[in-house]
């Protein structure tokens, strides 16, 4: 009887109507749902949403195969978008509207995925104890002068993997491994917690430098929690490699799935998310940089000044991800 009950339940909530856009999203509900609702208001196209971790969603897409109900995959890192492409669960989209808006390095060269918001992985330093003139490049973080002074999260974290992958792409495995080994030697503690915790640890004096994504710092500056705001005010952002390749960039983005049955609606949604209105909201809600240069970043982000962004094609980060993970294992980055 209970089984029957659950069968009835499944019938009620599993089968989305046909002309809807069905999304598997690694961007979490509160960071995506409001703009999807706006899309539905404007176009009348209903959107159904499952959120989750990117890797698991890609696994689900892979196993569901051609019958997967998902039309669109949203991921929060280029490494994952690349994995999805490699897994064969995406399809290429040719939309001149989108291609005109999104700079080439922030989308897949074959049109399999598109970056929709930008973040930089930067150095956060203690304003009281670090002279920003001593900071320069990512490479410099391996210098013994930072011994016992750096906090960064686990190498299981995709943002760290992507940063290392970009170096592998530029300098090769051996040089990058030497750099990671030096960096690990400078850790003030075993990697733990998220980016916000690294920043808090700098403010608390456990380390002098942290490596963090910009939006975490932005989130702390705007936090409802007074302690977090205080901590954020004790530190500042440094954009590395300004005389070289520029600060490391990453995207959150979206892709149309190979199994998509509502391709037109999915592309329509992609174009909407790349549009001016959505870009302003999409980036601002999480303190990210818009992917298009004609939309202004939020006030907090602007207050950090302009900076030179690395223009490496982001798919390189995906290509070198596995090498990056292995060399981080070897170098002892937990």
């Amino acid at each position: 009887m209970v089984r029957k009950l659950s069968l009835v339940l499944l019938a009620a909530c599993s089968m989305p109507a046909l002309a809807d856009v069905n999304i598997y999203s690694a961007r979490q509900e509160n960071l995506i749902k409001p703009i999807l609702d706006t899309f539905t208001e404007r176009t009348g196209v209903k959107v159904n949403l499952v959120t989750g971790a990117a890797d698991e969603l890609i696994q689900r897409l892979t196993l569901e195969g051609a019958n997967s109900p998902a039309d669109l995959l949203i991921a929060e890192d280029v490494g994952r978008l690349y994995r999805a492409k490699q897994a064969g669960v995406l399809q290429a989209v040719k939309s001149s509207t989108i291609n005109d808006i999104i700079p080439a390095q922030y989308r897949d060269s074959e049109g399999f995925w598109f970056g929709l918001s930008l973040r930089s992985r930067v150095i956060i330093y203690d304003k009281a104890r670090v002279n920003p003139a001593d900071l320069s490049t990512y490479a410099d973080l391996a210098d013994p002068k930072w011994d016992n002074k750096i906090c960064v999260r686990s190498s299981s974290n995709i943002y760290n993997q992507s940063l290392v992958a970009s170096m592998v792409s530029r300098n090769g495995v051996a040089a990058t491994e030497a750099w990671v080994t030096g960096l690990v030697a400078n850790f003030a503690r075993n990697p733990q917690g998220g980016d916000r915790e690294q920043i808090s640890a700098v403010a608390a004096g456990q380390c002098e430098l942290a490596i963090s994504n910009t939006y975490y710092y932005g989130g702390m500056l705007n936090s409802t929690n007074a302690a977090e705001r205080t901590a954020a005010q004790a530190v500042a952002v440094f954009f590395p490699d300004q005389n070289g390749n520029g600060a490391h960039m990453n995207v959150s983005g979206a892709a149309v799935t190979r199994a998509a049955r509502n391709v037109d609606e999915a592309v329509q949604l992609l174009e909407f998310l790349a549009g001016e209105e959505a870009q302003a909201w999409y980036a601002e809600v999480n303190n990210e940089f818009p992917v298009r240069s004609d939309v202004a970043a939020s006030e907090v982000l602007q207050s950090w000044g302009t900076f030179k962004a690395d223009n490496i094609a982001l798919e390189q980060l995906g290509i070198h991800n596995a090498e990056a993970v292995r060399l981080m294992d070897r170098a002892g980055w937990q």
């Binding site: 989305p16 196993l63 195969g65």
Partner: protein
């Protein structure tokens, strides 16, 4: 191997068991063990040198860290579980009546939530250390403070929320023990403490082991806490291998190693128990004589019993409440009720199914303890030790295969596309829960059923009852406590479950655990506190019912001496 309960029961086995829907149960078990078997089968695949890489780099860490967790949590839950269970059962001291049920409360607290909460309080940037630095004008490193995010921290966090399993099951055993044996031991010159260590604990061994094995399996399967603390243990290693190194085969093999290890532990325990059987020791029940404690014994007992509740429940609960008040204006209240009911619905459906299935499976095993039924129970029992995500994928694979095969067949023969029938539905979600949590039900019911003497079956049989009637009219009334315990434990576990729900759920369907995770994952702990608190509150009521039932579960608890 199994020679013990002979005699009339064996005639019952051969004569009547075929009336039980044995075949159906066997098929169902087989179905439920598909995810586990899928993972075990991976051992034979080649993983292209990934193992060499793991062996050269991180495998040593995974093994030592996971073993440390196991040993640490194992010892700590025994200390936190057994002692208080004995004290509140056998003695009286101020507050003992309240502590009887309060000691179970941490069960309602998911491990990842208690970890978030204590980290928020005790981390370098947290209020406590901030206060120390400001008050004493110290800088970081100039004072000693335990590091919460460490292996030891993880041991403490997990122990604080898992000890209730040991507490519950050992208390149930103590309550059900006849006073006679204890009195006999006292007449033979044993002190009360000796009666406890040399009679009560050995008699309660199956229950304690059952509780402990739940704890150890939960520890091995924990991902949220170790991941948050940045510990490279087996579970975090599985994910890293799977996604970071891109080898689902090697990841499945790591999970298989984990299962084989658990299987080995369980078999080792059985082997050491050998032929001993633990049934009710006597049918004579009198009211338990509770000793009124005085002086330092009273103070000691109070502290010993209050501490686990304080650390495992009260402190994190208060902290969560404070955060919830702070962030209440930011919370999306509209969806709150929906989340609440979704969680309750899933938990109740799963609890009922797990109870019925568990009862039939353990009873079939009692009737026919063949290699097949016992092996099946063992395999099913492993699900609890597997991380939820791995189980979810173990469910996705056969379900997606089934759906796609049906779809292809229907297209070919009838030109109808059926699409995905089961994948992405609540059926898949509940199925995954069953794979994961049926062991809880099986363990509890097996222990409960094992305590009923085989002669009870014989009596029922001699009165002309059929096996199912014996189950319904003899066993079920006797083991009412175990039945309730089994279903409520599953209920609370489902409330807390996160990873399988996350991967398998349908569109536009969320639970309290998912909302909590999403906010916590964005490192917005304070905002995650409202839903976290709801999970805890939803779990408290069943947890209290549980304690009450167990208090009343003593046969003849109304008897007057």
């Amino acid at each position: 191997m199994d020679k013990a309960p002979e005699g009339a029961l064996s005639s019952l086995k051969t004569g009547f068991s075929n009336r039980l829907p044995t075949l159906g149960i066997l098929l169902l078990c087989l179905l439920l063990s598909v995810p586990v078997l899928t993972i075990l089968a991976s051992v034979t695949n080649s993983s292209d040198g990934v193992w060499q890489h793991l062996y050269d780099t991180v495998l040593g860490d995974y093994v030592t860290h996971s073993l440390t967790l196991l040993v640490g949590v194992g010892l700590m839950v025994l200390v936190l579980g057994i002692g208080p269970a004995w004290l509140v059962t056998m003695t009286r001291f101020p507050g003992s009546r309240i502590l009887e049920w309060a000691l179970v409360l941490p069960l309602a607290m998911p491990a990842y939530i208690i970890a978030y909460t204590y980290t928020g309080m005790l981390d370098v940037g947290g209020p406590l250390q901030l206060w120390i630095r400001e008050t004493f004008e110290l800088r970081f490193g100039e004072y000693w403070f335990p590091q919460i995010r460490s292996l030891n921290g993880a041991v403490v966090m997990l122990s604080l929320v898992l000890y209730p399993y040991v507490y519950l099951l050992s208390r149930m055993a103590f309550i059900e023990q006849s006073v006679c044996v204890l009195e006999v031991s006292r007449t033979l010159g044993a002190t009360p403490f000796q009666a406890f260590t040399r009679v009560a604990i050995p008699l309660a061994r199956p229950a304690i082991i059952a509780g402990l094995s739940l704890v150890l399996m939960e520890t091995l399967a924990d991902y949220g806490t170790v991941q948050y603390f940045g510990i490279s243990a087996f579970t975090t290693g599985i994910f890293r291998t799977w996604f970071g190194l891109g080898s689902i085969t090697a990841a499945a093999q790591l999970a298989a190693v984990l299962m084989i290890f658990i299987l080995f532990l369980i078999l080792a325990e059985h082997w050491s128990r050998q032929k001993a059987r633990y049934h009710h020791t006597s049918n004579k029940y009198t009211r338990l004589p509770q000793i009124e404690l005085t002086g330092w014994k009273r103070a000691g007992a109070m502290t010993y019993c209050i501490l686990p509740v304080l650390l495992g429940f009260v402190i994190p609960f208060v902290q969560l409440s404070m955060w919830a008040v702070d962030t209440w204006h930011l919370i999306d209240k509209e969806s709150f009720l929906t989340l609440f009911f979704n969680s309750l619905e899933l938990a109740s459906i799963t609890a009922v199914i797990a109870l019925l299935l568990g009862l039939f499976i353990t009873y079939s095993k009692r009737l026919r303890p063949t290699l097949a039924t016992r092996g099946m129970v063992r395999i099913l029992g492993l699900g609890y030790a597997i991380p939820g995500t791995v189980i979810a994928v173990g469910v996705l694979i056969p379900f997606a295969w089934f759906d796609n095969t049906v779809d292809a067949w229907m297209r070919e023969h009838f030109d109808i596309a059926t699409g995905l029938l089961l994948s992405g539905t609540l059926v898949a979600v509940v199925f995954a829960y069953l794979v994961r949590f049926l062991p809880v039900s099986l363990n509890t019911l097996d222990a409960g059923l094992g305590k009923i003497k085989p002669t009870m079956d014989d009596v029922g049989r001699s009165m002309g009852l059929k096996p199912l009637q014996i189950l319904r009219r003899v066993h079920v009334p006797i083991m009412r406590g175990s039945l309730l315990t089994a279903s409520l434990l599953v209920f609370v576990d489902v409330l807390k479950e996160l990873p399988a729900t996350l991967i398998l759920r349908p569109f536009n369907f969320n639970t309290l655990a998912i909302r909590t995770y999403e906010l916590a994952n964005q490192e917005r702990l304070a905002e995650a506190s409202s839903t976290a608190l709801m999970i805890v509150l939803a779990g408290i009521i069943p947890v209290i019912i549980l304690s009450q039932t167990i208090s009343r579960s003593r046969p003849g608890h109304d008897a007057r001496t």
